[in-house]
Symmetry: C2
């Protein structure tokens, strides 16, 4: 299992203001790469939509950011980590919508 007991999954989807701009997409992705240095992150993945298409699939986002943490406390630390705050400061102008799913184990 990729997620240990008491692990915490944080999955973020970004919709860019200019979804056709390769430059903006690259800027976001470079920002995420820098953000991956935040010390409490256990594991991460930077993604883009796969080429799948069914009614239930949302492939309208520009980039995704999947993080695994050892526990909720590490995620809480990440939220206010200076590296995270700098990412938001530097990159927030690029997107017009963000959706976050925070997930823990079933009880």
């Amino acid at each position: 299992m990729i997620i240990e007991k008491n692990g915490f999954i944080h999955h973020v989807f970004f919709w860019l203001k200019n979804p056709e701009s390769t430059e903006d997409a690259n800027e976001l992705i470079e920002g995420l790469k820098k953000l991956s240095a935040a010390p409490t992150i256990k594991d991460f993945h930077i993604g883009i939509p796969a080429a799948t298409s069914r009614d239930v699939i949302d492939s309208s986002y520009s980039a995704s950011w999947l993080l695994l943490f050892h526990n909720k406390e590490d995620q809480d630390i990440y939220q206010t980590d200076p590296i995270h705050l700098k990412f938001i400061k530097d990159c927030a102008h690029l997107w017009n919508k963000v959706v976050v799913y925070d997930t823990i184990d079933v009880k």
Copy 2:
């Protein structure tokens, strides 16, 4: 990195018809546990919303299903695997909304 090169992430969020029903939630989770036997799945996680709350966080779903595949081909096989088709047949009556995010590596 949890995701190998050419890996494929499949993240599904379920909204139950009766979100207050512990019985329905348990039935879905038991169904997902059985579904985890589908042979092309590399790794999986069955989750529920964490106790986080910010504007960008969607915690309205009832259960989540995170799958890792070695590649898109394995995901395609999973879609028509008899174990998957049985899960849909047995459990589709439980939910009224499903959102799927399929994600691959940035190029």
